[in-house]
């Protein structure tokens, strides 16, 4: 089985070398063959050089597309190169590569189309700030109302996509703040979504895409996007 690790990066020169090293020496069951693709979303620092001088494939975006567009580039690459699975691991060091095994185990047990690594099932590791947790709780309920599914960590970017999910996302993936919205999209498309407990860390460097006053805007934007997604037919978007 070919697995592609998609690492979306925007100015992650501080944390990328360690992440790449961790991934290189990661031990997985022998039937899995791991490749790494670093997506450089037009960083202003040395992210591209670090990735280029490593074993990883560098997908160098000519303009800044935001996290959604960057992840989608990786998924398109996975589709074109016939990967069986794709995993998103953020470039900031929040998602420890050793936790990848847990996602794979969950995938093997459930055969889900999408496996989400969740911070909140066992409440271990970095739990984020109170404000953020409140936001995530809010999204959990919104998601429950709109799709009937209970997903604890709907903002988690630590996700494993199977072939069907890869194909779907290569066609459409939301641009900014894609995680909660894409869950609605997946549910409507009939994907099976599973969640498994993982331990996350605090970011090693760089900055979150969600900061300060923009968090209110974030909640509003995501709420709107989720509502629209829930009334949209999944095959309507191209």
């Amino acid at each position: 089985m070919k697995i592609l690790v998609i690492v979306p990066c925007y100015n992650e020169q501080a944390s990328l070398p360690k992440l790449l090293a961790d991934l290189e020496f990661l031990s997985l069951p022998t039937k899995y063959e791991l490749s790494v693709a670093v997506i450089n979303d037009c960083s202003k620092d040395n992210t591209a050089e670090i990735a280029r001088s490593s074993y990883a494939t560098l997908i160098n975006l000519p303009v800044n597309l935001g996290i959604g567009g960057a992840v989608q580039s990786g998924l398109k690459y996975a589709l074109q190169n016939n990967f069986d699975l794709a995993v998103q691991i953020d470039g900031d060091g929040q998602h420890p590569p050793k936790e990848l095994a847990k996602l794979i185990t969950c995938y093997e047990e459930t055969n889900a189309n999408l496996v989400i690594g969740s911070r909140f099932i066992d409440k271990e590791g970095f739990q984020s700030s109170f404000m953020r947790r409140s936001g995530i709780t809010y999204f959990r309920y919104l998601n429950k109302i709109l799709t009937g599914q209970k997903i604890y960590d709907s903002t988690s970017g630590f996700r494993l996509f199977d072939r069907r999910a890869i194909r779907l996302c290569a066609g459409y993936y939301p641009d900014d703040y894609p995680e909660p919205e894409s869950l609605i999209f997946f549910s409507k498309a009939g994907l099976v979504i599973k969640e498994t407990s993982v331990i996350m860390e605090e970011r090693n460097g760089g900055q979150s895409s969600i900061r300060h006053f923009s968090s209110v805007f974030y909640c509003l934007k995501v709420t709107l996007a989720m509502l629209f997604s829930s009334v949209r037919k999944p095959d309507l978007v191209c």
Binding site: I39, L58, G69, Q72, K76, Y77, D175
Partner: protein
């Protein structure tokens, strides 16, 4: 003729001339020019034909004719702004797809180069 009328006519005609020039020079696409031409056309017509404006206002029950001009103009501008947002969204989507294709093609190209030189 009222002074306001003269000013409106001159401004509208100057604006009309500008839109024409931009289309001729290829800086403005015809489909976007249509709205501007229509809007300016309405302004010029009613600047000359004041009685017509009064008749129209009476017909729809607007007391001050100028308000009819404002209402219609603002509505047309609103629709046009929505159209512009639509164009911007489409462009953004096309731009994203293009950027992704380019990045993926660069990888393919590098692979081919390696193969050729090997």
């Amino acid at each position: 003729m009222l002074r306001a009328q003269v000013i409106t006519i001159i401004t509208s005609i100057l604006f009309l001339g500008l839109v024409f020039r931009l289309v001729v020079k290829g800086k403005l696409r015809e489909e976007y020019a249509i709205v501007w031409l229509l809007l300016t056309g309405i302004l010029v017509t009613f600047s000359f034909w004041e009685k017509g404006l009064r008749l129209l206002s009476d017909a729809v029950g607007v007391a001050v004719p100028a308000n009819l001009v404002f209402t219609i103009s603002i509505f047309i501008i609103l629709v046009y702004l929505l159209h512009i947002s639509l164009v911007a969204s489409k462009l953004q989507h096309q731009n994203k797809t293009m950027a992704q294709e380019m990045a993926l093609l660069k990888i393919e190209m590098a692979k081919l180069k390696d193969k050729v030189s090997a």
